[in-house]
Symmetry: C2
Amino acid sequence: MQLYGYWRSSAAYRVRIALNLKQLSYDNLPVHLIKNGGEQHSDRYKLLNPAELVPTLIDDGLTLNQSLAIIEYLDEVYPEPSLLPQEPAARALVRALALDIACDIHPLNNLRVLQYLTGPLAINEAQKLQWITHWLSTGFAGLERRLQDTAGQFSVGDEITLADLCLVPQVYNAQRFALDMSAYPTISSVHHHCQQLAAFALAAPEQQPDAQ
Amino acid sequence: MQLYGYWRSSAAYRVRIALNLKQLSYDNLPVHLIKNGGEQHSDRYKLLNPAELVPTLIDDGLTLNQSLAIIEYLDEVYPEPSLLPQEPAARALVRALALDIACDIHPLNNLRVLQYLTGPLAINEAQKLQWITHWLSTGFAGLERRLQDTAGQFSVGDEITLADLCLVPQVYNAQRFALDMSAYPTISSVHHHCQQLAAFALAAPEQQPDAQ
């Protein structure tokens, strides 16, 4: 397998955790999102991923994009350990928690959005941090309330699920922007338990070959 | 079943299409996203959905949120007609197209984001339209290239899938903001074929009891 990603991309980070949990080896192929105007916009990369975003995973000649679609694919083709429960209601809960992050928090603070805010919309650095903090704290407030009902060691009980693969990169992102995590004890606890596992620790941005 | 939604919400619109395709009857419970500062922020609604977003679906005492998680749940519990192919690679393709819209286009032009841009960030109406158009055209450009490889009558071949349930509401949104669709002939063709079906037509915002 080949994973085209970027060390700090939350979406690539999710896929790295999944690959590690399933003990699937892969070539880590960095796509630098800033250098040369962004390598994700190169003609070569656009052929792999017309959305010009990371990650892209190649498995057995198959080109896959969108981190959650990639992880569900991996879970179907390489089912051990499973990242989703078996029962439909529990699967819906896990997927909803993952999407709470992947649809309603992460896209708003993505690099390309921040670049548009500070570029064409010309907002200043203080406004940019206010924007980032607003969407993180709004999203984490709802997530914290939901996890209070569902979490054990991990987001849903005591098994690792897709929800945890989204939570850990989002907390990494929040810490990077110095969000005060004291209002989110359940999110913090889940994050702490995940970080004890090698599959999560080795997927961390700083552990990647393209980390700066 | 009870569906808490809003006539113009793309996410609620996706779920309405799924319910119609599966011929599942439901009570349509409008949550007005603007009136009274937004009914989604009421104490009563927050108990159902701590993220204070629509839709929320109640099925047999189960409270479900996130449109894509709801639709996957419906597809698992009420499998006819199926909204995902059987084969993992094809499922990944359909999910990726759905997420291209649900993660990378829709959240950026959502009501709460536009409210934040025109409120705290004080951008003007021309800048707001520029923002909307930028993310629509960026997202549609990538989607058009992908659909050129995958589409038949619908997004993936000639069967309705989850991807179509995301595409149609996003095109509705684009038309509302007068996006020039001439650059996206494949998206337009898929949209046209979907609109011929009653399940899509009856799910349209203007057909809802809370339409204004």
